[in-house]
């Protein structure tokens, strides 16, 4: 895919007929070896056709990521057609020093045909566990959109046509020797910091303007719209217990033996947008820094 000197494997998942039919079940297992880099992507959006006899289309992905390895999952969005039923589950087991970039997103349907959030069921579950000592849960997210009695899915979406989630996880193994601290910079740290800063700037500006316009609502008489693109960032992951005033981590440890601690810093970005193009642009812009690791930048073009 990219220049040959970049050591990354690109895998395209392809289905016959360009979509999932009611009752289809797809199961994928991945094992990313130590120091390896793999990219999973799609050729086009995943279309889920209408449900027949109440059957569901299911996709399951189970991945194990080795030490110092990077797994990147950058698909096109899922599009559920009218009355479709779709369920997906993605479970990632990571080791110390693993990295993961995961994009999971869905559009409201075939806008041209007027299908907006017209499906019966969409379930997406993403789970990340840290291997060892009983698989500690790091990130568990489940979204269930089901057409039901309380509120229609379209009402819950308040006019937004696309929702997306981007997870950037980069684990760092801190080696503690005597009282010194050696830290290896994880692969995604720079992108994580950049994305958080970019989103903060973009949203602060938008909300500031909305706030000002709202304040002037009485005077101008204009109708105020929601932002066309809404995003927010959060960090997640295990924290350190102790931090001294000097900023170093001081731990009581055997001066001879080395003790290792895990520091997981993950960043999750949640997006709601009115157009698919705006999300593609956002992803291309924010993930551009991945080019050096992957050979080609995700979502380019």
């Amino acid at each position: 895919v990219g220049p040959s000197k970049t050591d990354a494997v690109w895998i395209y998942t392809i289905t016959y007929g360009g979509g999932l039919v009611s009752g289809d079940s797809v199961s994928v297992e991945l094992d990313i070896g130590h120091d390896c880099t793999a990219v999973i992507t799609t050729q086009a959006s995943t279309k889920v056709y209408k449900s027949v006899e109440g059957k569901c289309s299911v996709q399951v992905l189970e991945a194990r990521i080795g030490s110092n390895a990077l797994l990147v999952i950058i698909p096109d969005p899922v599009t559920c057609f009218s009355t479709a039923r779709y369920s997906q589950k993605q479970v990632f087991r990571v080791a110390s020093t693993s990295s993961l970039l995961l994009v999971d997103w869905i559009t409201s349907g075939r806008h041209q045909s007027g299908e907006k959030w017209d499906f019966q069921l969409y379930k997406s579950s993403n789970q990340i566990y840290l291997q060892g000592e009983g698989d500690q849960p790091l990130f568990i997210d489940s979204v269930v959109l089901e057409e039901g009695t309380t509120a229609a899915i379209s009402e819950r979406m308040q006019g937004y046509q696309v929702i997306a989630m981007v997870v950037l996880l980069g684990l760092v193994l801190i080696m503690i020797k005597m009282h010194c601290l050696l830290e290896c910079r994880p692969k995604l740290k720079q992108i994580q910091d950049q994305v958080q800063e970019n989103v903060r700037k973009m949203m602060a500006e938008q909300l500031h303007h909305s706030g000002v316009r709202g304040h002037n609502k009485a005077n101008s008489g204009h109708s105020i719209g929601k932002p066309l693109f809404l995003a927010s960032c959060s960090t997640f992951g295990p924290k350190f217990e102790k931090k001294t005033s000097q900023g170093y981590l001081k731990v009581q440890c055997d001066p001879v033996a080395q003790k290792a601690r895990h520091k997981g810093v993950g960043v999750v970005v949640r997006i709601a947008a009115t157009t698919t193009e705006s999300v593609y642009k956002f992803l291309e812009h924010q993930l551009g820094g991945m080019e050096s690791l992957l050979g080609v930048a995700p979502y380019r073009g």
């Binding site: 929601k226 932002p227 997640f236």
Partner: protein
């Protein structure tokens, strides 16, 4: 567990109770002391033939000697031989249940100093993002938040109430910490939860295990004191049934958003009270829909809320912490 007794005109007194939990023949540290004492008293009625206990799924009744370790849920019907005697006996049960009512009301009262007033559940961000502009939007928003609370948090309240042990509570805490991926929501949960735990340990001194669990968990540092599990734990130890505790959690969520709405000037105090009553029937439907589920079924049903709540940190000026 809820026990109410009615005296009807007929010769049947119905003692309806919902005792869910494991009853052991011996008391152990994890067993709810109140529950144990209450059932022991009930067993006397049982043996005296004044009470007929039936398990929900079975047709026949069960004998008090079979008790051992089992789950009891059902309806006890007592044939009234002597109404007067039963009235006397009922009076001895009543004070305990009545006292539980007072504790329940105190737990749900907004004057309990848990800091709930500092959080708007994403309302402030939603207003500034122009997603809410009038009281109708507000009503819709509240219903969505309650729906999402039900789908995401009620399973944790349920599990903690039904099994109010330290081991289970710690397990729920770890899981919820990984599930609350929104930083703003997560911080709000831990600040409310730790305040609630502190207050409950000081207030409900008749339950020494509350203080004991709190002190032990503070020391270890492994527990974040999330609001939902702590709330469920307290309800379970107080003796509230799982139905009551889950409804109560939905109630306090609704109470806090409506309170935030009045302070954000979206609705006046009287309008807020009217709205609260109007939403009550929807809240009940949602409580019934999402209650009694397992924690691995916990999910978000309104993902837009997560995005909006996360924007709270980007607000130029804000009144609330979250």
């Amino acid at each position: 567990m809820l026990a109410q007794s009615w005296l009807c005109k007929d010769v049947v007194v119905m003692l309806a109770f919902d005792v869910v939990g494991t009853l052991r023949t011996r008391r152990d540290e994890d067993c709810n002391l109140k529950l144990w004492l209450w059932v022991r008293e009930l067993k006397n009625f049982w043996r005296e033939g004044l009470l007929f206990v039936q398990r929900e799924e079975e047709e026949e009744g069960i004998s008090p000697d079979v008790l051992g370790s089992s789950v009891l849920r059902g309806c006890a019907i007592a044939p009234m031989e002597d109404q007067g005697e039963l009235v006397e006996k009922n009076k001895s049960i009543a004070p305990r249940e009545a006292l539980l009512q007072w504790s329940e009301w105190q737990l749900l009262d907004s004057i309990l100093p848990t800091g709930g007033f500092a959080h708007s559940f994403g309302l402030e961000a939603a207003i500034q993002a122009c997603i809410i502009s009038d009281p109708e939007d507000l009503k819709t928003y509240i219903v969505h938040v309650l729906d999402n609370t039900g789908s995401l948090l009620l399973p944790f309240v349920y599990s903690a109430t039904v099994s109010p042990t330290m081991a289970n509570w710690h397990k729920l805490e770890k899981l919820l910490d990984a599930t609350l991926t929104n930083e703003v929501g997560r911080k709000a949960s831990t600040s409310q939860g730790s305040a609630l735990m502190r207050v409950a340990a000081a207030v409900f001194t008749e339950i020494p295990s509350l203080k004991m669990m709190r002190d032990a968990s503070l020391g270890s540092g492994a527990v974040s004191f999330h609001h939902a599990p702590v709330f469920g734990l307290i309800c379970g130890l107080l003796g509230l049934g799982s139905g009551a505790s889950q409804r109560a959690y939905m109630f306090i969520t609704m109470r806090d958003i409506i309170s935030a709405a009045t302070r954000l000037n979206l609705v006046g105090p009287l309008g807020a009270a009217v709205m609260q009553h109007q939403i009550a029937s929807v809240a009940e439907e949602l409580s019934k829909k999402w209650m009694d589920r397992k924690v691995d079924e916990a999910c978000q049903c309104t993902p837009l809320l997560d995005t909006v709540q996360g924007c709270h940190r980007y607000l130029f000026s804000r009144l609330f912490c979250s």
